[in-house]
Subunit: 315 residues, 2 copies
DNA sequence: CGACTTTTATGTCCAGGACAAAACAAGGCG
DNA sequence: CGCCTTGTTTTGTCCTGGACATAAAAGTCG
């Protein structure tokens, strides 16, 4: 996306005594929470929260703590809560609610997954990569994706939300997994495979791990996956589908991606694409309730994607 | 950034006789041109352009033609023009200006590079990958990066600017090159290499090809490159440098990244990082005039990066 | 011609209001 | 009691018109 909003002119984060960083301007809120500044301002009107300080110029400066609350609120919203129920609640209450929502999925995770999580917590760059590579070899690609990569991503995402791990630690993991999946896809892919699947995310959706997992699996099953990177505008997508002779457009939606925008995008896409081209939507954000768009196939998990591919091949 | 607000049936894209689409709401402008709605509205005040219709509710609806103009304007701005000079000019004039700006640097390019450009124009997914892979094998990594990857990226960027190739075509190329560089980095990298280099971009900077090129080269020369993905906030970067025992932080800045934000980010980083940790800044955006930040080493091109690494190793 | 100062251009933020679509609640009828 | 229809509240997005800091350009002086 060419025109993503740039960092503001003056320095947002400022050191304070504790080594933490001071209040952040509204622009940073958008980046850090995914909530638009308009909505945050409206909440201020309606609920009295957040309650930012002001700089000398009258611009809002949000204390770190309120940003943390907003992040939790965003998470709860995407879990189905309405703003009225969560905006303005104290931080600890929100934390408890998030903890309830994301029950202890970690407890039930397999040992191998837990061990990788430890590596991530330690920030052990090579440890993460080695562990993942070893698991891939041991389990084989399909099991690796289903039993390791997918649950691990979910757990890491939750841990990040809970403030349990740092951004850079999540990045170390994401990059490592992306590398490994990419390599697996490359070695599995056949350029003349069938069907031809175009893989991308809607504009605004930056999470691509799910897409890479799907790519690896589908390529293994003989499809020709063409990845055009995240955030391809609808018009470009239609053009690409035509020029590249695409059978299926596969999209990945994360939970962070607003349902509204997702539905609108899918509906528009369905209208613009030829009927012969199928649309598959997967990812955590795709199995939310109201996302029923006619002519779009929803794939709640990797297994569903494999199934869909089998059915397609049968025709 | 957040939801496209769209009524189920009637709002944005409406087919008309030509197969084109009808007026689009302001939200679509942001996605399609990368210009924020606030800026577009201000231009309407100040220059009388764009001049959208209104729907029954008073909301703006931009005719397709004006959207096209805005897209060209955006390109001209990123090429250095000021809004006053371009906003409101007729469509054909803008087209001419864009053509003039991106004169044919392509003419002087080597034949191999031209051939890849043709593949990109054709949208030949596998052709691009095969051509790049073959060139890498023939030239070896250092020459491939310096003589093929770098100039090719520049040419593709210009062609995109000119409207000569589509976004999805640029993406095909970027993904292919990223894959190839990634693989090269992986096979070259040693986890216990020295120095330990943390690679990322400032928040707001999404271009990473330059970083990947540098990574491949530096890894080949024995460094341990740790890539944490683009747009790592300064605070996280400092944390990561500490936990990962980093010697050098390498940043990539594109021309699109505003100089002021870049300088601010670098200054802040220099303040927050321990003195022992070096900061290297590379990419097209790094050799602009006023970017002299004390304690930051600027690397105008890949060769300079190699040189810097040699000097570091000598100490 | 170069460093400094003034002016203009430009992007971002603000306040407070309006409105439609979505979510929710309530009532009516099989 | 369940399901559909209808009224009410909630919520997100857009609007107008204005203020202001900073980047860029123009002007000034040594």
């Amino acid at each position: 996306m060419r025109g993503t909003r740039q960092a503001p002119g003056h320095l947002p984060p400022r050191e304070d005594a504790t080594g933490e960083f001071g209040p952040v301007p509204v622009t940073a809120i958008e980046q850090e929470t995914g909530l638009s500044k308009e909505v945050v301002r409206k909440w201020e009107d309606r609920f009295g929260f957040p309650h930012p300080h002001r700089d000398s110029q009258g611009n809002r400066l949000y204390p770190r703590e309120q940003v943390a609350s907003l992040r939790l609120i965003q998470r709860l919203l995407s879990a189905g809560y309405r703003p009225r129920m969560v905006v303005g609640r104290p931080l600890d209450v929100l934390e408890q609610m998030v903890a309830d929502v994301t029950a202890d999925a970690e407890a039930g995770a397999p040992d191998e997954v837990k061990r990788v999580l430890d590596d991530i917590r330690q920030g052990d760059h090579t440890g993460i990569r080695n562990a993942l590579t070893a698991l891939l070899r041991r389990q084989g690609l399909p099991r690796f994706v289903k039993e390791t990569a997918a649950p691990l991503s979910a757990l890491v995402g939750e841990a990040w939300l809970r403030g349990d791990i740092h951004v850079f630690q999540e990045r170390l993991f994401s990059e490592a997994l992306a590398d490994i999946l990419r390599e697996a896809s490359l070695s599995a892919s056949s350029s003349d495979g069938h069907p031809r699947i175009l893989m991308t995310t809607p504009p605004g959706e930056t999470h691509i791990l799910g897409l890479r997992m799907a790519e690896a699996i589908l390529a293994l099953d003989g499809a020709c996956c063409i990845n055009v990177g995240p955030q391809l505008p609808a018009a470009e997508l239609v053009l690409a589908a035509d020029r590249l002779d695409i059978d299926i457009v596969a999209l990945s939606l994360s939970l962070a991606f607003p349902e509204r925008a997702a539905a609108a995008f899918l509906r528009e896409l369905r209208k613009l694409l030829p009927e012969a081209v199928e649309i598959w939507a997967g990812g955590m954000g795709a199995n939310r309730g109201a996302l029923a768009v006619p002519g779009v196939r929803f794939l709640p998990d990797i297994t569903a994607a494999e199934e869909a591919l089998k059915q397609f091949a049968a025709r």
